[in-house]
Symmetry: C2
Subunit: 214 residues, 2 copies
């Protein structure tokens, strides 16, 4: 059965999954890129951006594993772009250029309807306006039995956690302090929701933990 998985989701030591003030030039928020340095050091992470080299090992294995057996993705709107409010036009086509790194149907949560957007390489963005459960249903129907990866951002993951819909949550604790930004944990009692830490693996540049439901 399809699982809903969060993979390689980085949080700072102080619990932030993104820095404050996301914008066109700071898609992860201010300071937020530091969360992901461990990814950019890996071979798989570098390949995603068309670069050679990079480290193998635990960190790389986790990045690679995050792309295995995926049939669909779900993204919050802010992960798709910095546009807020109604779509003024259809000129924004994502952060990733014409061949995004998804290669599956991608369901984008938004309050504002928009026609599906077919990109190169097998990625089609579908805009879902009727909530997280609908997006998950549509993603499962599209995934053909494979898993669905929930890409983020923080607000979207929080919504799915609170609804207890996430089957596997791979968090990566990055050794940075952000000080402010979007907190993954504030006001959510993961223990009460039934989540616990299933295993933890020291990485090269960060700590990997996998959370799941009891």
């Amino acid at each position: 059965m399809s699982k809903l998985r969060v993979q390689s989701f980085s949080v700072s030591l102080d619990g932030y999954g993104a820095g404050p003030r996301q914008s066109l030039t700071t898609p992860m928020g201010e300071g937020g890129m530091g969360l992901h340095e461990w990814v950019f050091a890996t071979r798989t992470g570098r390949q995603m951006f068309g670069q050679d080299g990079g480290e193998t090992g635990v960190d790389d294995d986790f990045v690679a594993r995050g792309f295995e057996n995926l049939g669909a993705w779900i993204l919050g709107r802010n992960m798709f772009g910095p546009v807020r409010g109604p779509w003024a036009d259809e000129s924004w086509r994502g952060w990733w250029g014409e061949n995004p790194p998804y290669h599956t149907p991608v369901f984008v949560l938004t309050n504002h309807a928009r026609r599906p957007l077919e990109m190169a390489g097998g990625t089609t963005f579908h805009f879902v306006t009727d909530g997280i459960e609908s997006a998950l249903r549509q993603a499962k129907a599209a995934a053909g039995g494979r898993d669905i990866r929930l890409g983020g951002g923080v607000g979207t993951i929080r919504q799915y956690l609170e609804a207890r819909l996430i089957d596997e949550l791979h968090l990566v604790i990055s050794p940075v302090l952000l000080g402010s930004g979007e907190s993954l944990f504030a006001g959510i009692d993961l223990a009460l929701l039934g989540y616990r830490c299933l295993h933890h693996v020291p990485g090269i540049r960060a700590m990997h933990v996998v959370l799941g439901k009891q």
Copy 2:
């Protein structure tokens, strides 16, 4: 010069340094003992409780290092005991029995005066009623040039962090979720206060990070 150091301070993945509802039977709060399992697995941690065996390696090195070059300790009152409000009598003598594991002067922050309490093994508890800066001054005077260790709890560490008085903060990220309790980070912008992660070391059962001021 004496440094003010926090050592081997464990926080959960969701940022809690203690569980909720501290009491006589749950001195770390509910679930809070899970934060410290990594300590109890180490040789030095076991020695502190009079037990043989235990692991050596990174985790043990950090525990041992936390006791080096100390001339005094500072503790919040809740770390000294579960008593709240004025001292009804002097019968509470700490969690640790007649020979506490400090072996130096220990300055306990409280709103309620009490006579110094001399224990076996070189530990004397001094009760400080005029604030964190006074406690630090007194500890420095007593430490004879050696360092001062700030033992906690969470509220006390937060006060010293906000006053930018901590020179070195060794945090240990334990692979557990507490869900609620005392958050070390909530509402404190460590980056804005000038702290950053100086280094990080993967441990056997947890991740070690050392924070300091820029």
